[in-house]
Symmetry: C2
Subunit: 196 residues, 2 copies
Amino acid sequence: MSTPARRGRPGYDLESLLQVAVKLFNERGYDGTSMEDLSRKLGITKSAIYHHVPSKEELLRLAVDRALNGLFAVALETESFEGRAIEKLEHLVRGSVLVLIEQLPFVTLLLRVRGNTKIERAALARRREFDRLVTDLVKQAETEGDVRPDIDPAVTARLLYGMVNSLIEWYRPRRGSAGTELADAVCKIAFDGLRA
Amino acid sequence: MSTPARRGRPGYDLESLLQVAVKLFNERGYDGTSMEDLSRKLGITKSAIYHHVPSKEELLRLAVDRALNGLFAVALETESFEGRAIEKLEHLVRGSVLVLIEQLPFVTLLLRVRGNTKIERAALARRREFDRLVTDLVKQAETEGDVRPDIDPAVTARLLYGMVNSLIEWYRPRRGSAGTELADAVCKIAFDGLRA
């Protein structure tokens, strides 16, 4: 064993290591990426990685938790809101778009998780919890007469977040483009439609 | 070499072989599936597979072409339409949802293609061509005053198909549920919004 001071390269703390790992997981798939691949990419030894984090699964947990915590923080804000369910729903959608933009690689990883390991199944369970929350808001807004009653609320919720989540497929950050503008676009189309 | 009559199992023609291959590609990823895996899944030898199809890539090509041909057939129908661009756009969206539902595993595979091989790059090029077609319709409809002018048409097109394509993540065929109902729901929300 080398001395702790020589472990890892200067410049790699847990955060920067996590960033590289998430990028690699998104490129090659989580299952398709080994700690060996990660150590090659980072240019440090595997034991230097294990100095920061005990396993590949732990990197996945940190990554998907960041995405989920961002989304649930917006949901919590929404709950403390006074007002009609449709306003809460709009706040949730707007906030979700901003989380997706700010944490793009982390949310991308989260949305591709399939559930082969305990960490993945836990992430999927929290995603389902979030989806239920969205569906409940849609239902409540429908009861209040603010959401069209001619579509199953679960379908409306899925289509709404289908639109939001599609951002990971095509959104690329550009200098000078504000996330709030995209969040506005999503809300306009989802709530009022693309028709003039 | 065995005689042709003994190649393959009775019951596997190219079509049923393709169905199994696409299911496996969707479960494990195209890159992560070998012809060995496929032969094990089918319970036939690799040479029996090669009797039907020369390579794994050819299976991919057949699969993504089926999805793309379905989508472009709707686009072609749309072009021959008389009428306003927004009506064409609605026809295209409705038809795309039906193609997604009818060819779900094939479209799922298409939408996950990343472009590592020639076949994949060709599929991505045709997807981009389709996207341009959608964007052009949105632009034209905006010029005709039928689509809201306050959002970049390319963004509108992407959000619209983000919603459509999200179906591969959550739609599961159920007995008695008509695809046309879901196509209606998508059009209602996309064109007129979820607000009552």
